[in-house]
Symmetry: C2
Subunit: 241 residues, 2 copies
């Protein structure tokens, strides 16, 4: 499994993904689940992936191929698409078509080919937007009322987001919130694992403002995780029944 989360805030976009994949319980590997397409200053797009690795990898490969094609068009390339909505459509259509190709081969077995994605970004002159692409290729969009989207093992880390995240949350607080949301998920579900990929896209920058790999032994993350555990236990002991 996987846990990926994206926040769409007044100040920008914050994204976090884990890297654990497993084929069965005894075959666990590390794969990046965060991908970026960028023409700094003109457009920035980040894609987070969850679900069948063969489906997400092939989808990403086709998206890259289409973007690099000499005959790329605004209908085929996420780097040429005139709007973020069109980007979401291209990603959704590619995902659905890859899934159809692969599902055809998988019909005999009962292996799932479901995969979902978060697509977030901004074009110069356009608004920041963030979409959740469903396995069938259709999608929903983050709004003021619902500033965060999650894919994969989303339940463990939802309570903290429900409590602390709003559209007005600062980029610093937002990074803290997604990391603590991930921390709860890591502790409670072995199918989500380090290292993590954390990214920030500031409003109107139209480029990746920050992208950081957080390794398993990362001291800052461990310190934050420890401090959060202590703070939770302190808070727990102070609550009266």
């Amino acid at each position: 499994m996987t846990y990926c989360v994206g926040l769409l805030l007044e100040a920008g976009i914050v994204l976090l993904s884990d890297t654990r994949t497993n084929a069965g319980l005894d075959n666990i590997s590390t794969y990046r689940k965060m991908f970026t397409f960028e023409e700094p200053g003109e457009r920035v797009i980040a894609i987070l992936t969850a679900g069948s690795l063969s489906v997400t990898q092939t989808t990403m490969a086709r998206l890259h191929e289409a973007a690099e094609d000499a005959e790329a068009t605004p209908d085929s390339s996420v780097l040429l698409a005139p709007t973020m909505l069109k980007v979401a459509e291209i990603v959704g259509n590619t995902l659905a078509s890859v899934r159809q190709d692969i599902e055809h081969k998988m019909n005999a077995t009962k292996v799932s080919t479901a995969a979902s994605m978060i697509v977030a970004g901004q074009r110069a002159g356009g608004a920041m937007r963030m979409f959740l692409i469903y396995p069938e290729g259709n999608f929903i969009e983050a709004t003021t009322d619902t500033p965060f989207l999650q894919i994969g093992e989303h339940k463990y880390g939802k309570p903290i987001l429900d409590r602390v995240v709003s559209r007005e949350t600062s980029l610093a607080d937002a990074q803290k919130a997604v990391l603590l949301s991930m921390d709860s998920t890591l502790r409670s579900n072995l199918s989500v694992g380090m290292p993590l990929d954390l990214a920030v896209i500031e409003r109107d920058a139209c480029r990746m403002s920050m992208i950081r790999r957080i390794e398993a032994g990362d001291k800052d993350f461990a310190a934050m995780s420890g401090a959060w555990s202590r703070a939770l236990r302190d808070a727990f002991s102070q609550i009266e029944l």
Copy 2:
């Protein structure tokens, strides 16, 4: 859906269940999901239920009928069973048999007949034990390493339990822990709802030591929920990235 949780501690057993059931999204009702069988001083058994309401209700009805039957035997009645293990077997077998009866009728539609249960209690002279009964009727038991069992929507409320509950947790802290675990679930998932049923069985009491219905407007629960939200937000603001 449902959220039920049971803790098996040195000091006793603490159980909490919600009461929301739904047949589809637009047909929501309140049903008790906590049931007790008791011969005070001799034995106490509590059963929490999740899943198909027709399956769990019929299972509970058959268990009651078998216990009240004039010809009840230690193989058929949870009030006569010689051990808690035998109680778990009777409940598991009854659940599996009800499910088979109903599944037969449901084959045409795709409605799930899955249901699971937590069975906890103690017989005079025996140990406190707690079991999770799977839809197929087999079961697992809580141990020193894993002092809590959950059924239904278990993911939202697991991080807090992972952090604060151990076998040595006091009964007061345990009640706080299950209520906060439920609070996180209530906030993040509409299919789990008030009122709640909270029960405590003290070690070797062999009777329900406390059983309490917590209604939607309960002031103590609302105060605890508010205090926990404030404590979490304070803790969040103090954590350094």
